[in-house]
Subunit: 129 residues, 2 copies
DNA sequence: CTACAACCTGTAGTAACTACAGGAGCAAGC
DNA sequence: GCTTGCTCCTGTAGTTACTACAGGTTGTAG
């Protein structure tokens, strides 16, 4: 059993964020010592790591919560997990497409950068488009 | 001269957002009618469109504000504009790299999806990593 | 027994909007 | 002249996922 500080270190989730996850019901409330300090089991820490990994993969909190709750379900839940992951991959791909469009347009702007002397093509471009 | 509704339509910025930009000092306060309604010139609308275009390119509000204020500067400001744009392109590229990493990892998860019957590889993976 | 670190609760701040609530003005039709 | 309904006004609260205190208690090492 570990203190919140140790749990933070082992899970990669900061103390403040652990408390936030608890408040929001993303992870269940841990036991407390007689003085009111939180104590975490290996399992509790594993669940924190699970949420962290989900977040690193870009899953929104509600999806992370759903995935976590699927871990103690039956095998029928696996297809749900896959569906959530595919949905997420779709969102990520859309974001990539958006950002690539931005990069292209930024490069076009930058390409015509300090060229003439009395006008700024980049600012002109932003003003007129 | 146009009402805020028309300005919103022509600039692509919603009414609420126009008022927000004004409150935050991103665009200057427009004149008012005797009844207190905002009135916009073509120039004011152009500035709203400028901010919108910056935002669409991913520039944060402070950068959009800087770029906008550069538009009435001298030609020396052009190099500043370019620097801001290059900085922004760097940020966009970093985001793309992050998202591509996510996509790869998500694809790895999805790839091993409904395979066996009694365990869910995707959930196992998230739990153990 | 005294520091000092780690913990506690509760609140406020972040980015960039978005969504009301509650009220006033304006144009058209009767 | 009056009602209907649209647009406008201000001001405040909500969104996402945290992060950063303030102010107080507990646990530990010397």
């Amino acid at each position: 059993m570990y203190s919140i500080g140790v749990a933070a270190e082992r899970s990669g989730v900061t103390i403040e964020t652990i408390r936030y996850y608890e408040r929001e019901g993303i992870v269940s409330k841990p036991d407390r010592t007689s003085a009111g300090h939180r104590i975490y089991s290996d399992d509790g820490i594993a669940r924190l790591r699970f949420v962290k990994r989900c977040r690193d993969l870009g899953f929104p909190i509600p999806e992370a919560k759903s995935l976590l709750s699927l871990t103690d379900g039956s095998q029928t839940s696996c297809s749900s997990a896959c569906a959530i992951a595919e949905e997420q991959r779709g969102l990520v791909r859309n974001k990539i497409a958006d950002l690539k469009r931005m990069e292209t347009e930024l490069s076009e702007l930058i390409g015509q950068c300090p060229d003439s002397e009395d006008t700024c093509p980049i600012l002109e471009d932003l003003l007129s488009s």
